[in-house]
């Protein structure tokens, strides 16, 4: 191995260690038979048992799932339409409109949505406001993935369908949709993972009342860091990771190329 290679590899190893060791520690200590995240005492599943007996935590998880499923469904629907529109009508302003929320700082989006809900819509904050907020920032991600898929396609396929007797709707249903389906599913999974662990925007738009998972975890840490937090974090990580891997498998290349 050449000298420059050794440096490159060590730098890479360090960077990954920095990223993953904290996560690994969280996972390991979720099985630790001690109330403290300090030293390894022994293996236990009791924190997971405790977690599943924690009524408030379960409610928070259920709420978060409802939000994530609804928001990713809506975002996939609207984001797919946006991606198709951006690809078909080469309008300059449309991509800006759709992609801006992706790049916008979350805190800004959170504040803006809060003001919009309260002052313009006069909406009572709760599940509905969170779903709308999450949908808003997920649309852009779905649109990016769908458009990337369309960009790699031979345009004449869609013309061929029309030429061979398919109406615009039949062309969409029989040709376009099946061809972009991997991107649509990848976008949905992506939205789900973004929604379920979102803190900032959720925090601004949740109001009082319903507990939401990431915020519930934060509240628990404020009181005391118990391994129950490790347990819920581990489960959340597992879910997110699985979905990300499926999404990447479905549309490898697109995720690497278009989203950072």
């Amino acid at each position: 191995m050449r000298r420059s290679n050794i440096w490159l590899w060590s730098a890479a190893a360090l960077a990954y260690a920095f990223l993953y060791i904290p996560l690994l520690i969280v996972v390991v200590y979720s099985f630790n038979d001690s109330k403290l995240n300090a030293e390894w005492v022994g293996f236990t599943l009791s924190w997971y048992v405790a977690l599943f007996n924690n009524q408030e935590m379960l409610t928070a998880a259920r709420n978060s799932l409802i939000i994530a499923v609804s928001a990713s469904f809506l975002a996939t629907l609207l984001g797919t339409m946006a991606g198709l529109a951006i690809h078909r009508y080469k309008l300059k302003f449309l991509p800006v409109l759709v992609f801006t929320p992706v790049a916008m700082p979350e805190i800004l989006l959170g504040v803006a949505l809060l003001l919009f809900f309260l002052q313009v819509l006069n909406l009572t904050l709760g599940m509905v406001s969170i779903i709308i907020a999450h949908t808003t920032f997920c649309i852009g991600f779905v649109a990016i993935i769908v458009r990337a898929r369309l960009q790699g396609m031979d345009e004449s396929i869609f013309e061929a369908a029309r030429d061979l007797g398919a109406s615009p709707w039949q062309t969409f249903r029989l040709i376009t949709l099946p061809l972009i389906m991997p991107a649509v599913v990848a976008g949905a999974l992506m939205s789900f993972t973004l929604s379920i662990d979102d803190f900032v925007i959720t925090f601004f738009t949740k109001g009082v009342g319903e507990p939401i998972l990431p915020i519930q975890i934060y509240t628990m840490i404020k009181v005391a860091v118990t391994p129950e937090v490790n347990a819920i974090s581990t489960l959340l990580m597992l879910l997110t990771l699985t979905l990300i891997i499926i999404a990447a498998k479905l549309d490898s290349g697109i995720l690497r190329r278009e989203t950072k």
Partner: protein
């Protein structure tokens, strides 16, 4: 009545006129070719016939019915795309079945028609394959089968052989001629390859800068190009500046600077004093040793400048005393012999009095 009639069709993109007041009428059963360099407007014209684009002015009539305003799916014609445009998520059989399904054909009828279509293009065992698993030539045949399966009135072909290598291309050309003959479907074929157009077509429209330069049978286009563009675009040709000395009904007498008098076939609308070029094909020019007796009237001495050996024939480039260059083609009928003349050899070039064409400026 013509099957397809294009009447004064114009299409502009901003300041650029892609198709400029074009009128063409195509008969049923014809193999018609739109030939021209890229950007000449042939693809735009094809897209307007298919319905993917609309003319800014003019009419496109199919069976006497104006098609403008009819969406592509309602036009009784199909297109074979240069990229083949097969649906990648469908099998070969499903691809071919697609137009039948769209037309509401019964499932039993569909399966028998698809089987028939696969047989016709010699892909009987490929029905369950996906397009990605086929070679270029096979994909091409699937595209033909799909375009023809529900017996359209008209098949548009957009440079369908463009992506194939030379040998396969020649095979597909023959296949295409047979396919068209068997089905009796009218073909409108687009290409920038003049040899392909000459080989396949009943009639050719040579297009340039949005206009039709000449519309005729292949042999007339090749033998009697109407203007300099057509002469230059189709095949090889030598051009010499000339002026008309005598315009008789039987022949033209031309003066070519530095060579003297040349006899050429007569032509309409040519007057004494007209200037232009004498255009002559390499295969019409005879080349011989300069000492040999030549009985032809158009006969000049020159010097071999170079030659191009391509196997079956060799083309010699001969420089005449006036500096003009003329190409002469000689078949290599003697085996193992690449050339009869060397560069620098003095030679005689001659051609018959009825060879060549005078083209007005």
């Amino acid at each position: 009545m013509a099957l397809l009639e294009i009447r004064n069709v114009t299409r502009r993109f901003g300041d650029f006129t892609a198709v400029d007041n074009v009128s063409i009428s195509i008969e049923a059963g014809e193999f018609f070719t739109l030939l021209g360099p890229s950007g000449c407007g042939k693809t735009t014209l094809l897209r307007m016939i298919a319905g993917f684009d609309l003319p800014d002015a003019g009419q496109i009539l199919l069976d006497g019915k104006d098609m403008v305003g009819t969406p592509p799916e309602k036009r009784p014609l199909h297109t074979v795309f240069q990229s083949y445009a097969l649906f990648p998520h469908m099998t070969v059989a499903d691809n071919i079945a697609f137009p039948l399904k769209m037309a509401g054909t019964t499932p039993a009828e569909i399966s028998s028609r698809v089987r028939e279509a696969l047989d016709d293009v010699r892909l009987a065992n490929f029905g369950n394959r996906f397009p990605q698993e086929l070679s270029g030539g096979q994909k091409q045949r699937v595209a033909f089968a799909r375009g023809l399966v529900n017996r359209p009135r008209l098949l548009l072909l957009d440079e369908p052989l463009g992506a194939l290598d030379a040998k396969l291309r020649e095979e597909m050309q023959i296949e295409l001629i047979n396919l068209q003959k068997e089905r009796g479907v009218t073909f409108v074929f687009i290409t920038h390859a003049q040899n392909e157009a000459l080989a396949l077509s009943h009639r050719i429209a040579v297009m340039n800068q949005g206009k039709v330069e000449q519309l005729d049978e292949p042999s007339r286009i090749y033998g009697f190009p109407r203007n300099r563009f057509v002469a230059d675009f189709i095949g090889k040709i030598s051009l010499m500046n000339a002026q008309v000395l005598e315009a008789a009904p039987s022949h033209l007498k031309l003066s070519v600077a530095g060579l003297g008098e040349v006899t050429a076939p007569s032509k309409e609308n040519v007057k004494v004093g007209d200037t232009g070029v004498l255009a002559i094909r390499p295969e019409q020019v005879r080349i011989s040793h300069h000492a040999e007796e030549v009985e032809l009237k158009n006969h000049f001495i020159g010097k071999v400048q170079g030659f191009l050996y391509v196997g079956d024939v060799t083309t010699y480039l001969v420089e005449l005393p006036n500096g003009a260059r003329i190409e002469a083609l000689l078949p290599n009928s003697a085996p193992g012999r690449a050339k009869f003349f060397e560069a620098g050899d003095p030679v005689a070039v001659s051609w018959r009095h009825d060879a060549g064409t005078f083209l007005n400026d």
